[in-house]
């Protein structure tokens, strides 16, 4: 049992890293922080199938490893603040059990962007706030797409540990 859990967790981290890499191949629209958040599919899957601690572990480990492998010095700070805020929001929202996968994903996406804005504010001053409307919009749209995919996967994949 324990070995299976370790394997599943490791696979989730590896999958999240690959999705981050795949996403880096998609051309950016030119606004920092606007992205799809493919790796969040794995985090939401883990949140529903494995538990919140496992989801948090996968997300934070992914952020750390991806920044180490593909990122630059500043990217860890931005990704980490986004991931922590996003995780907190998604875990709390899922606990209320009032909303579905899509809302959890949307809140996760918007909070991820909010976390990055917060870090940018700390590093570069309050003017980054002008990015907030477009990042709330992009976080919502991306969150709907990611949430819809996640909902399907959570429903279809039969995982027992």
């Amino acid at each position: 049992m324990k070995t299976k859990k370790i394997t599943v967790l490791a696979m989730c981290v590896a999958l999240a890293m690959i999705l981050s890499y795949v996403e880096s191949l998609i051309p950016s629209p030119g606004i920092p922080g606007v992205k799809l958040g493919l790796a969040n599919i794995v985090v939401i899957f883990a949140l529903y199938k494995l538990g919140w601690k496992e989801a948090a572990g996968i997300s934070l480990l992914r952020v750390f490893l991806v920044s180490l492998l593909f990122g630059h010095a500043a990217s860890l700070m931005y990704s980490a603040s986004g991931a922590v805020l996003s995780l907190a929001g998604m875990i709390l929202l899922k606990r209320t059990d009032r909303l579905g996968c899509v809302a959890v994903s949307v809140i996760g996406g918007v909070l991820h962007n909010a976390g990055q804005i917060l870090m940018a504010w700390l590093l570069m001053g309050p003017n980054v706030v002008y990015y907030l409307p477009v990042l709330v919009l992009s976080g919502t749209v991306a969150g709907v797409a990611i949430g819809a995919v996640s909902a399907l996967i959570v429903k279809r994949v039969d995982l027992k540990i």
Binding site: V102, N127, V136
Partner: protein, 126 residues
């Protein structure tokens, strides 16, 4: 019964999505309404101002030891080149409203348009 709950959740999800889209629109309108034409482009590295250039005077300026190239023309400011691979700052385009900014994360550099007519010469950059 199960379907009923699933549906209720779906409706709640739509409500959340709608609320966030509305929030984005409100933020956009509030920021748009408070927007005015700016007078100077202020360059900061690590949040510390390094130089400023009036938008009224055309010119090309290497920033931060040449890591990014700032161009000012037609009352607008933009970055024409940078030493990072993704060139996100270049793709952020031209800015001229007060508060608009171009951000280069790798070099931790920002170019921000600030208000007020620049009082003639702000800084002479040799």
């Amino acid at each position: 019964m199960k379907d009923f709950f699933a549906d209720r959740k779906r409706r709640a999800d739509l409500l959340v999505i709608g609320a966030l889209l509305l929030l984005a629109l409100v933020l956009y309108l509030v920021i748009g309404a408070t927007r005015t034409e700016g007078g100077v482009a202020v360059v900061r590295v690590d949040g510390v101002e390094t130089e400023r250039h009036a938008l009224s005077a055309d010119g090309t300026y290497p920033l931060n030891g040449g890591s990014n190239i700032l161009v000012i023309g037609d009352g607008q400011a933009w970055l024409s080149d940078a030493n990072c691979p993704d060139l996100l700052c270049v793709r952020q385009g031209k800015i001229h409203y007060t508060g608009q900014s171009i951000i280069c994360l790798p070099n931790r550099l920002t170019v921000t348009v600030e208000g007020g007519e620049s009082d003639g010469v702000d800084f002479v950059v040799g």
